[in-house]
C-alpha cells in the first residue's frame, strides 16, 4: 500500500494530483468521465469579484504539441460561484481550491474574504500570472514587488492555505517565488501559460482576437520542469508543478524535479479521464520502484 498523501501547508491532499484552473470547469463538467472523489483536489476556474465576459472569439489556436488561449477570465463572479456552484461541489470528498484573480489588490482581497465564509474552501490559488487580461494578472506576477503586494494582502485576508500561481514570463522565477514565500504564501504553483502568438499567414491576421495569448500543453513542459526545479531549490514552501503534463510519466518529472503536487491542465481537454490515470500511474510507479511514500520522490532527482 503506497502512501500518496501530501500536504500543502495545512491542506492535506489524498494524492498529489490536482486539476489546473480553467481546464476543468468547476468539476461537474467531468463527472461523466471520472469519480471526482478520487482527485487530490480540484482548482476551480479563475474567479473574480464581478462577472466577466472574457475576450472576444476567437480565443484559441492549436500549435505544435500545444495551444494558445486568450479566454480572459470569463466567469460569473464570486457571488454566483458561492451561490450556484459551491453547493454542487462542496461535498465532493476532495479539496476545493478556488483560483482568484483581480484587477487590483483590493479585488483579490474581497474575493478571498467572501470565499472564506465557506468551510469547504480551505485554499485559494492567487493568480498573478494570467497573460490575457489588461489589468492585474501577469502585471503583478512579473515583478517581486507586485507579487509580494498581492500575496501580503491575501495572506492577511484569508486564513486558509494560500497558493500563489507564478508566471513563467520572467527572467528569474526563483526570485519571484522567494518574494512570495517571504510574504507568507503557503505554496507556489507554476507555471501559468507562456505568452505566445500565432498568425494565419494567408489572411495575415493573428489567430486570436487579442493578438497574443498563453501557450500551454506538452510543448511547454520542458520549460515548466526547469522552472519547478529552479524554484524548488530556492524556497522552503511546497511547490506545485504544472505545464504540459499529459500522463503519469510527465507528472513524475515534476515530482522528481521538486514538486509536492501537480496540476493537470490542457490534458483534460484531450483525455477527460487523464487525472485518475495519472493517480493510478503514480501509485503503480511507486510500487514498481519500491517506494512506499510518494513524499520520498519529491525532488529525488539523481544528478
Amino acid at each position: 500500500m503506497v502512501n500518496l498523501n501530501v500536504n500543502i501547508g495545512n491542506l492535506s491532499l489524498k494524492n498529489p494530483v490536482l486539476t489546473a484552473s480553467g481546464t476543468f470547469g468547476y468539476g461537474p463538467e467531468f463527472a461523466d468521465f471520472i469519480d471526482l472523489n478520487r482527485l487530490g483536489g480540484f482548482i476551480v476556474k479563475g474567479t473574480t469579484l464581478e462577472p466577466r465576459q472574457g475576450n472576444p472569439y476567437p480565443r484559441m489556436v492549436e500549435t505544435p504539441s500545444g495551444m494558445i488561449n486568450a479566454v480572459g477570465l470569463q466567469n460569473k463572479g464570486v457571488d454566483y460561484f458561492i451561490e450556484h456552484i459551491y453547493p454542487q461541489i462542496k461535498d465532493v470528498d476532495s479539496q476545493i481550491i478556488v483560483n482568484v484573480s483581480g484587477a487590483g489588490v483590493d479585488d483579490y482581497v474581497e474575493v478571498c474574504r467572501r470565499l472564506q465564509q465557506h468551510t469547504n474552501i480551505k485554499a485559494v490559488e492567487v493568480n498573478i500570472s494570467c497573460p490575457n487580461v489588461k489589468q492585474g494578472g501577469m502585471a503583478f506576477g512579473t515583478t517581486c514587488e507586485g507579487a509580494a503586494s498581492v500575496t501580503r494582502a491575501v495572506r492577511k485576508a484569508f486564513e486558509g492555505t494560500v497558493l500563489v500561481k507564478l508566471s513563467p514570463n520572467v527572467t528569474d522565477i526563483a526570485e519571484i517565488a522567494r518574494a512570495v514565500e517571504a510574504e507568507g504564501a503557503d505554496s507556489v504553483s507554476l507555471i501559468n501559460t507562456v505568452m505566445a502568438m500565432a498568425i494565419d499567414v494567408e489572411r495575415r491576421k493573428p489567430y486570436l482576437s487579442t493578438v497574443t495569448g498563453g501557450l500551454s500543453g506538452a510543448a511547454v513542459r520542458p520549460i515548466a520542469v526547469r522552472m519547478v526545479w529552479q524554484v524548488a531549490k530556492a524556497v522552503k514552501i511546497p511547490v506545485i508543478g504544472l505545464g504540459g503534463i499529459m500522463n503519469g510519466r510527465d507528472a513524475l518529472e515534476f515530482i522528481l524535479a521538486g514538486a509536492t503536487a501537480v496540476e493537470i491542465g490542457t490534458a483534460n481537454f484531450i483525455n477527460p479521464a487523464v487525472t485518475v490515470e495519472v493517480i493510478d500511474y503514480i501509485e503503480d510507479y511507486c510500487t514498481r520502484h519500491g517506494v512506499d511514500n510518494v513524499n520520498s520522490l519529491i525532488g529525488a532527482l539523481d544528478y
Binding site: 480553467g22 476543468f24 495551444m67 479566454v71 484531450i270
Partner: protein, 256 residues
C-alpha cells in the same frame, strides 16, 4: 451521459477526393448511447504529428440496427486528413455525445426546410431521418461549391424533396442557397448547417418570416465539454460555449 468510447472503423469510404463517410461501431460491441441529430463527437486523431487536440465532428447518422455511428469527414487540415486515411479495423477514441441537437417541430409545424452547405449537410441526414420517422416530409436545400462537393444525395432523396445549388452551376441552381426559389416559400421551421456566411445569409433572410430557424455553429474548440471556454459565441445571454449551449442555436439567441 457523455462517454469515452473506443470504436472500430467498419468502413471509411471516399466520397470524391475531399470527403469520406466513416462508419464505426464500439470495439466492445456495447450499445451506442442515445444521441440527437445535431450533436457532435470529439475524435482523438492518433497518427497526425500536427494534431494535438481532438477534432469535433458532427454526427451524420446513428444506425441503431447495426449499432453504427456515421461521420462525414471533410479534408480541412492535417487532423481530418489523417482521419480520412484511416482504414477499416483501425481504432478511434471518441467522446460522445456532445452538445445539444436540433429542436424537433412543435405541434402544428409541418413545413420544414433543411438547408445544408458543403459538409454541413452531415447532421441534416440524421435530422431528416428523425423527421421522416416522425411523419414529416422535409424539404432539403443543399448547396456546395461544385457537383463533387454534394454529398449523400441519394440518401437525402430517399428522405424528401431535394433542391440543389452549386456555386459553379455544375449541377442544380447556379448560385448560393439564398438565391434558390425555394427560399421564397413559407416554412414553419428552418434548420441550417454550413459555412458561416451561408448561415448568416439564411438567418438574415428568414429572420422576420415567422419561421423558427436554427443554425449549427462550428466555432474552434478545445475540450468540447464546457471547460476551456474557447468556443464561445456572443448571444443575448452573453458569451456562451458552443460545445455545451450549442452547437445548435435558434437565431434569436445570436447577435448576428
Amino acid at each position: 451521459m457523455k462517454r469515452i468510447i473506443v470504436f472500430r472503423i467498419v468502413s471509411n469510404t471516399a466520397l470524391g477526393s475531399n470527403y469520406t463517410l466513416m462508419k464505426l461501431t464500439p470495439e466492445d460491441n456495447a450499445e451506442l448511447p442515445d444521441t440527437c441529430p445535431g450533436q457532435f463527437v470529439q475524435i482523438y486523431v492518433p497518427d497526425s504529428k500536427s494534431t494535438y487536440l481532438r477534432r469535433p465532428i458532427s454526427i451524420n447518422f446513428v444506425d441503431k440496427k447495426s449499432n453504427q455511428l456515421w461521420l462525414l469527414i471533410r479534408n480541412a487540415g492535417d487532423g481530418t486528413a489523417a482521419l480520412m486515411r484511416m482504414k477499416a479495423e483501425e481504432r478511434l477514441n471518441i467522446i460522445m455525445p456532445l452538445g445539444n441537437g436540433f429542436t424537433l417541430p412543435s405541434d402544428g409545424e409541418r413545413k420544414l426546410l433543411l438547408v445544408g452547405g458543403g459538409v454541413g449537410v452531415a447532421p441534416l441526414y440524421a435530422l431528416g431521418h428523425k423527421l421522416v420517422d416522425g411523419g414529416y416530409r422535409p424539404v432539403f436545400l443543399l448547396g456546395a461549391r461544385s457537383e463533387s462537393d454534394l454529398l449523400m444525395l441519394d440518401e437525402f432523396k430517399a428522405l424528401g424533396d431535394v433542391m440543389i445549388c452549386t456555386d459553379d452551376g455544375s449541377v442544380g441552381h447556379h448560385g448560393v442557397v439564398t438565391t434558390h426559389e425555394v427560399m421564397n416559400g413559407t416554412f414553419d421551421r428552418i434548420y441550417c448547417c454550413g459555412p458561416m456566411p451561408m448561415m448568416k445569409a439564411v438567418a438574415n433572410m428568414v429572420r422576420n418570416s415567422g419561421a423558427e430557424c436554427e443554425v449549427s455553429l462550428e466555432n474552434t474548440m478545445a475540450c468540447g465539454v464546457g471547460a476551456c471556454l474557447c468556443c464561445v459565441e456572443p448571444t443575448v445571454k452573453g458569451n456562451v460555449c458552443v460545445c455545451t449551449e450549442g452547437p445548435v442555436f435558434n437565431i434569436n439567441q445570436l447577435t448576428w
